[in-house]
């Protein structure tokens, strides 16, 4: 129980378990999103670039403001390491940010580039993910995100696979229902956007036997739609026990 509890809180806190000890490896943010998108988890369009000039071009195409993040196979703690730059509103800001981020890369981060994505705003955040219960196997989770995540620990769990009705009921189970309605001039959450994510995560569990965990943290509720802006997929290493 305690181990699972930590995994769930780990999800809430966007930390990952001791990778070496559990025989798993993580995918980069871009690769994580690519894998999950194959199973229907929706993401916004974004660009993975290898140099600052391409980052500027990407920002021009996507439209500012953008965020820039260092992207690597072994970068599970981007925020803690200061590898995320928000609200980049012009070419100069993008150029500087991309240059700095690439300079901050360690050789063992497995860096694949800089990820440039539209900057989404919204006062509400959710989290979602997959965690493997030692007894029940893979589970899909959704919870309240943001600064109160840890304090409220408002999370709902189902075993994978799950259907759309299950996903809808997961949202019904959250205690923070008032936050899912109209809040401070922002429209009510379009629940189908979360249901799509949860059903997609379930499909990924079924389609990728080596999947151990997924963190989608946060899903920003932007104009009523929940959009996953970060993703971390953890896979069982080859030869590791299932």
């Amino acid at each position: 129980m305690l181990r699972v509890w930590r995994l769930h809180v780990g999800l809430l806190l966007m930390s990952s378990p001791d990778l070496a000890a559990t025989g798993t490896r993580t995918l980069s943010e871009a690769a994580s999103k690519q894998l999950l998108a194959r199973f229907g988890v929706p993401f916004v369009e974004e660009r993975l670039v290898s140099n600052p000039a391409d980052a500027v071009r990407a920002a021009q195409e996507l439209g500012v403001p953008v965020v820039a993040k260092l992207c690597g196979d072994r970068l599970a703690h981007k925020t803690e390491r200061g590898l995320v730059r928000l609200g980049l509103a012009d070419d100069a800001a993008v150029l500087d940010a991309a240059t700095e981020l690439l300079a901050l890369a360690h050789p063992d981060d497995g860096v694949t580039g800089v990820l440039v994505a539209p900057m989404l705003s919204g006062s509400r955040e959710l989290i979602a993910g997959v965690a493997t219960d030692p007894q029940f196997g893979p589970t899909v989770l959704v919870g309240l995100g943001g600064v109160l995540t840890e304090a409220l620990a408002d999370v709902s769990v189902r075993l994978a696979p799950l259907g759309r009705i299950d996903a809808e009921e997961m949202l019904d189970d959250l205690r923070c229902q008032a936050l899912l309605g109209e809040v401070r001039g922002e429209p009510a959450l379009d629940r189908t956007t979360v249901i799509d994510v949860l059903v997609g995560l379930s499909a990924a569990v079924e389609g990728v036997p080596e999947l151990v965990s997924v963190d989608l943290n946060p899903l920003i509720v932007h104009d009523g739609r929940a959009v996953a802006v970060d993703a971390l997929v953890e896979l069982r290493a080859q030869g590791a026990p299932s």
């Binding site: 129980m1 219960d133 030692p134 007894q135 029940f136 589970t139 075993l159 009705i165």
Partner: protein, 494 residues
């Protein structure tokens, strides 16, 4: 569960004959108490017993050895002998046609390395012999269709439709004590002991196929095979209501569970999610679990969540309206205009004219059954909670016992009140049957004065008289959740 599997369990629950191995002349021993309980509960099959000295126990002649047992006359072996005797005992039993064994004997999986080895051997032996093994280290088995109370503890519950399976024997006793207290009966009950070969989920699968069982009620503690638990709960809950109390839901409880059954606990929210996903009713406490099961067994499922509270006294109605409103899934029905107009014709204008329907003392001889029928019969009402039953009979009791009875006209009024409360309780039952809607009657008189003609008539109709309105609301909420679960997934029976 296949027909063959069901047959195996029927040897346990409806045996042609029972053998108590290790019957004792000492009234403090399992071997005495279990034989006593079998005899005292009116088991109709043949009862045999073994005793090392061949001494008669409770008037039953005993065999020194199971070799003396006539072949093909007993299906169930109830084992109270020490571990060392059991291998030979089971071999002989199998040769005599016995196909089910309940072991109370200790010293197995709960007793270190050596005990675990003995348990593994036991499991393998029973598999070879084709014997359904329950226990060891278990409390016993109860089956009301056969009037069988083969257990080392009391009680023997009334007959009913609830099947009980528990990882902990105490919970079997708890649920059966609640059954005795409320009159809502049990079909089968089993404590799994160490669950060496047969666990809670095996019993649940049997209950789902058992013609005597409509509802499964289980206590689970640790989960050793999560995928099997999930699959079993899904299969069984698709066929009948399943109510589960799970121990080890908190960090403190999980540590206690680890030392109790040696099993790993699981993240509580994961188990909670599983229950929601497969339509299992999870209860937080023993009484909530029993009352949920009793409600499934005795009330129809509501087809919607609109609840009307009907009361003869204001305060209860207000608090119950709070409880319904606070419930995340139930709704306090808006009293339909046409219903209000019809009730207006029966009551003086001081009645509440809204939901809760507070009759405010305006009722005459037939008002309560009439209003109840109008309310439950209305298409915009899905369920009724009826409060105030038995008040007059409670006064009648005091009049009976106060030293003035039967003079001063007391006898006549006492009889009237008692007759009326009987009628009201009967009406709640009858109207529930004709409307196919749940009508839950709640009063603490069910506990304070169970002989009160109100609650005792509710019991006589086979239903539960809830000790408080809040508990009735909780039970009704469980019914609605299950109905909604089935409806959303297209699982309702046509």
């Amino acid at each position: 569960m296949t027909g063959v599997e069901v047959e195996r369990f029927l040897r346990l629950f409806d045996p042609r004959g029972v053998v108590v191995a290790g019957a004792s002349t000492h009234p403090g021993k399992f071997g005495f108490v279990s034989l006593h309980n079998i005899l005292a509960s009116g088991y109709a099959g043949k009862v045999f017993a073994t005793n090392l000295d061949g001494a008669p126990v409770l008037g039953v002649p005993t065999m020194r050895s199971l070799d003396e047992l006539p072949e093909g006359e007993a299906d169930l072996l109830f084992v109270c002998t020490p571990r060392s005797a059991n291998v030979e005992l089971l071999r002989t039993a199998a040769a005599k046609g016995i196909r089910a064994a309940f072991l109370t004997s200790a010293g197995y999986g709960e007793a270190g390395e050596e005990g675990r080895a003995a348990q593994a051997e036991l499991v393998q032996l029973c598999e070879e012999l084709g014997i359904l093994l329950v226990g060891p280290n278990g409390q016993g088995v109860v089956s009301t269709p056969s009037h069988l109370c083969a257990q080392i503890v009391a009680p023997y519950p009334p007959t009913g439709r609830i099947g009980v399976a528990s990882q902990s024997g105490n919970f079997v006793s708890s649920f059966m004590n609640w059954s005795c207290a409320t009159g809502v009966g049990i079909s089968r009950a089993a404590s799994c002991g160490n669950a060496a070969a047969t666990g809670v989920t095996d019993f649940l699968r049997f209950f789902a196929s058992d013609s005597h069982t409509d509802v499964s009620l289980a206590y689970l503690e640790g989960v050793t095979d999560g995928r099997e638990v999930a699959a079993a709960l899904r299969d069984v809950a698709a066929r009948q209501p399943v109510v589960v109390v799970k121990g080890g839901a908190t960090a403190g409880g999980a540590r206690a569970a680890a030392s109790h059954t040696g099993s790993l606990a699981t993240d509580d929210r994961t188990f909670d999610g599983l229950c929601r996903q497969v339509g299992v009713t999870r209860a937080g406490t023993v009484e909530e679990a029993f009352e949920a099961a009793a409600t499934f067994a005795t009330q129809p499922l509501p087809t919607g969540n609109r609840v009307v509270v009907m009361t003869t006294a204001g305060g209860w109605g207000v608090v119950t309206a709070d409880a319904v409103t606070r419930h995340p899934d139930l709704e306090l029905a808006v009293l339909p205009d046409d219903l209000r107009d019809r009730i207006d014709e029966l009551l003086p204008p001081r009645w509440s004219r809204s939901n809760p329907i507070d009759l405010a003392g305006g009722e005459t001889r037939d008002t309560i059954p009439q209003v109840l029928e109008m309310v439950a019969g209305h298409p915009d009402v899905d369920a009724v909670i009826y409060l105030g039953l038995g008040i007059q009979s409670n006064q009648a009791r005091m009049l009976r016992e106060g030293g003035y009875f039967p003079d001063h006209g007391i006898e006549r009024i006492v009889a009237y009140h008692e007759r009326q409360d009987q009628r009201f309780a009967q009406a709640a039952h009858d109207i529930s049957l004709t409307t196919s809607k749940p009508i839950l009657t709640a009063t603490e008189l069910a506990v304070a004065f169970p002989d009160n003609p109100g609650p005792s008539t509710v019991r006589a109709t086979g239903r539960l008289c809830y000790p408080s309105a809040d508990r009735a609301v909780t039970a009704l909420g469980h019914l609605w959740r299950r109905r909604r679960h089935l409806a959303r997934r297209g699982l309702l029976e046509p």
